[in-house]
Symmetry: D2
Subunit: 339 residues, 4 copies
Amino acid sequence: MIVILKPHPDKEKLHQLSSTLEGYGVTLHVSEGAQTTIIGLVGDTSRVDIDLIRANELVENVTRVSEPFKAANRKFHPDDTHIPVEGRLIGEGTFHVIAGPCSVESEEQIIGVAQAVKRSGATFLRGGAFKPRTSPYAFQGLHADGLKLLLQARKATGLPIVTEIMNLNHLDLFSEVDVIQVGARNMQNFELLKELGRSDKPILLKRGLANTLEEFLMSAEYIMAGGNEKVILCERGIRTFETMTRNTLDISAIPMLKHLSHLPVVVDPSHATGIPWLVEPLAKAAVAAGADGLMIEVHNDPKHALCDGAQSLTPAEFDRVMKVIEPRAALENKRMGLA
Amino acid sequence: MIVILKPHPDKEKLHQLSSTLEGYGVTLHVSEGAQTTIIGLVGDTSRVDIDLIRANELVENVTRVSEPFKAANRKFHPDDTHIPVEGRLIGEGTFHVIAGPCSVESEEQIIGVAQAVKRSGATFLRGGAFKPRTSPYAFQGLHADGLKLLLQARKATGLPIVTEIMNLNHLDLFSEVDVIQVGARNMQNFELLKELGRSDKPILLKRGLANTLEEFLMSAEYIMAGGNEKVILCERGIRTFETMTRNTLDISAIPMLKHLSHLPVVVDPSHATGIPWLVEPLAKAAVAAGADGLMIEVHNDPKHALCDGAQSLTPAEFDRVMKVIEPRAALENKRMGLA
Amino acid sequence: MIVILKPHPDKEKLHQLSSTLEGYGVTLHVSEGAQTTIIGLVGDTSRVDIDLIRANELVENVTRVSEPFKAANRKFHPDDTHIPVEGRLIGEGTFHVIAGPCSVESEEQIIGVAQAVKRSGATFLRGGAFKPRTSPYAFQGLHADGLKLLLQARKATGLPIVTEIMNLNHLDLFSEVDVIQVGARNMQNFELLKELGRSDKPILLKRGLANTLEEFLMSAEYIMAGGNEKVILCERGIRTFETMTRNTLDISAIPMLKHLSHLPVVVDPSHATGIPWLVEPLAKAAVAAGADGLMIEVHNDPKHALCDGAQSLTPAEFDRVMKVIEPRAALENKRMGLA
Amino acid sequence: MIVILKPHPDKEKLHQLSSTLEGYGVTLHVSEGAQTTIIGLVGDTSRVDIDLIRANELVENVTRVSEPFKAANRKFHPDDTHIPVEGRLIGEGTFHVIAGPCSVESEEQIIGVAQAVKRSGATFLRGGAFKPRTSPYAFQGLHADGLKLLLQARKATGLPIVTEIMNLNHLDLFSEVDVIQVGARNMQNFELLKELGRSDKPILLKRGLANTLEEFLMSAEYIMAGGNEKVILCERGIRTFETMTRNTLDISAIPMLKHLSHLPVVVDPSHATGIPWLVEPLAKAAVAAGADGLMIEVHNDPKHALCDGAQSLTPAEFDRVMKVIEPRAALENKRMGLA
């Protein structure tokens, strides 16, 4: 961190500022130029409150040179993190596909979809029991009953479950869930993140619709700072001015996140645009850009799905996408499935 | 709502679709053209699940003609809503200024600021006890102790309190708070909104950083659908590509929200840009565009504030802004203060 | 400008880098810390090519402390610029309203509108002869005939003319035009800007739909660097994710541009949203935020306008807006009209 | 196109509106419901002025069902367009890489880079002679001398030349250039587009920084409407709130453009982020998403490049990217090079 001071700082106040900065446990390098004094902060600056320093009356400008996150930072953890789930390892070198319906609707539906996606090579089942809907009048999910149906589908297929939590009081309800998902709209629900930091479940954290990569990693940091280091990052499209696609998949987020962090990165090509025929090309692009996995919506009867049916693949379409993905994952040296 | 069908729909399936649509309690007007059949839905379409219809195999396209919100909709509630708080009425025709520090830090600080802003004409005291910070390592507020200090400041000055809730389990803690604020990052924390819908407290709901006005009103609808109609909308700047200001104040949101909804609209010119000298021109613009009030950060010692000090006004600067606002509010036929 | 070097720079290469930097005519302040060497550049850094320095192998990071524009910069020209046009002065302390139709359609139309807006207090007539349309099949304007009709309307009313240029070969055609407008889509048509820099006409430069304020001022700088210092900046709304309004008026651009630059700033509330009933509140907000004028679309028959009729005011609606603006401009110490 | 009328339209005015609509050469299907009358327009609606209809006093709302572009529209031209350039065909099934420096600097530089990229498999040479720079004080290119050097490099290597035009008067200067590039900032410089429509040169049209795909295709339509159907679309990153990358590559633009249009689509992964180590993963993603080619910045000495050196690859880095691309292009059934 580089702190640039206004000309001719008061000696006494400069002394106070230096003490404050040293209080963060960093080392100071002061360079006094003819006109400008510059203070360089060396060490772990993730705990330095940049707003506070910027507000100091002596300070002209502050520039971060290093990132404000630490637990999630590859500089401090050069090796890739691999997160174990039911005999699977999620992280660099493997490639897992999480598939299933937007929302759990019935025993027949969820078990049927689970069996189909397993046959096609998916290694995780997704399905929403608690649904974050823009409208209070839209279907909100089957709640606890939905979770039960997911566990039945797990029993029937052996596929571990990924499902979204919306309420920090629900952690007990999710005790048998394998991976807990945090949705895009809750990416900065810091109270929920703190609660999940106290859990030992793997967390699939989705990037917010208008959040920067730095903010995304800071939200991962919230969970990790609480003691839970099992965070999987999920890019799912950001909000831009383009209206033909529901969101814009930020494909460079994949290599950039893997550069900045040691955490696994998966991509959701279904929510990225909301258009089912775009899932295949985006899935291929995500593999090519280095993703460690995909999350894809599959519904046995998209025409009658209770939510987001318009963006779901049929099991047959999903099977085709899997066949297309396989040789491409191999080319990127990613092991697919349980092999 | 206008549903445009694909050419030559199957009679049987069209009958099913029509039954589904009628199940929402709306009246259908079917126009069969030579090539295209169009179904118009008349009545309250707020409960119609547009995604579900769009996924139907007969459907080419669906266009909403009316808004998906109802309780918040001016069409159904033509008269302006006025929300009573401790002898004040918030809504069209009045103008209330909510002022105070980003976060509560000490008894001396909060009472000092409260007395100062009251002298200048503020009619509400704001102050954060629970702070949503991007970094888990930044100051997170004094929590319950902060709430106690706010209540002391209320006792000392008579100013009702506006403060932010972040956790749906805290509602009891907030029982003596006058207005509960939902921050921008929680605008689509639907579980929190539902919980607040069961409360009888006035809710100041901030627009999310990248949320459309329709989504903003849908979040108000969540609270209102639960039975709590006391919602105050707060525009606080949206995220754009511009980097000179932290956010971009969407000034047209004020007249547009007041056109679409009967709810009061206030503006936060402090968070809108993060630059203290911009508070005055933006506050003036907000008054001119029809806002029903302002929310302004004031700190007795911005240089040493524990958060967002860089964007806070000093009490003297705030006093100047209030003097500038007064004649302009009068010109817009807004009664300021308790008069 | 602050150049931060990578650790342990090669002495020889550092010498070369220093020579390159001094070649820009700036003074260097080198601070060698234990780990990091920092070079501060003092003086006029507007001609320093930041990309070139960033690419240097010794360089870790470069931060601009001062703005990259000079002629447009208030730091170098503290006094407000006033641009004289036919007895009017555009700039701080005055307030001019430029009104007229999107496009010139006929003698009757343009003279009729000119007379009407003059009666209501407009001091300039706008009207498009060359229209930048998204579709090649849309009406593109009357071209040279449109310019002739504008000059007839000027003769009939005495109102000076503001009209848009799209082609750098048209400068001769525009010889009798009073103020030449550069549209948002041409804000970075640098060849056109250079050509206008060689003219002595006042230029009304519109901000691009997705351009930062810094880029906007750099485009003004292009014109000024060519010798033409008569530039009027026009904020007309930027592109965001919001879809209810065609664009989002960046109200903070007004005080920010006036802070950074000495040039006049006007606002176009018609294009800012594309919705006629929003013109009045946005015009009021623009006055309150410090604008030096407005540009408003007025059409005698909006229902049959050949372009953008949907956003035009009728002469009666415009008259009402002018009556509303007058006391507000007075309150901001702006002289309206020719007084 | 669907025109929804306000309730109870005046018979006479409805007759006029119908005549106006029929004047566009479309067939009308009028459906009179109990409350709402809807007019469907069938046929080629690309020439219908939607703004004009929206402004009509009878009209409540207008929705486009079909796209406003025709010459560029795959619906009217189902077969992929292949553009021949010096024995190469650009379009579906082939894969061409255009490589070279941001700007031409010297004979030695451009010939050296041309030979290097040819050796690695590039089939076109790029290089800027006229450079659109944000600052008037930055290096603007060698102009006519730069074009001469490019032609020398073509002679030396046989690589056809792609270079950017900025001024519509320069068409003669570009008579020996093989492919004329229109830069992102000129995507809506309609006068330039019209001039290029009268040329018979292939045009590589870059998407503007904040332009929708529809606007992008409308700009292609401008060139095609003038008679020049040889348009190559280039996605090069759009502007979003993310700041870690200069722009955000819109990867879904590739399949979406190829779905909507028959024109070839190439991707510029260098400008998309401005970060050289991201070129490889983005190039791979572009191939996987279906691009017909790439445009990559390569400089023999990026550290001393006169523009954008920081984003250029060295010839060795470029060679590595080409080796990585080859098997992936083959997997997508794209023939690379001249084979």
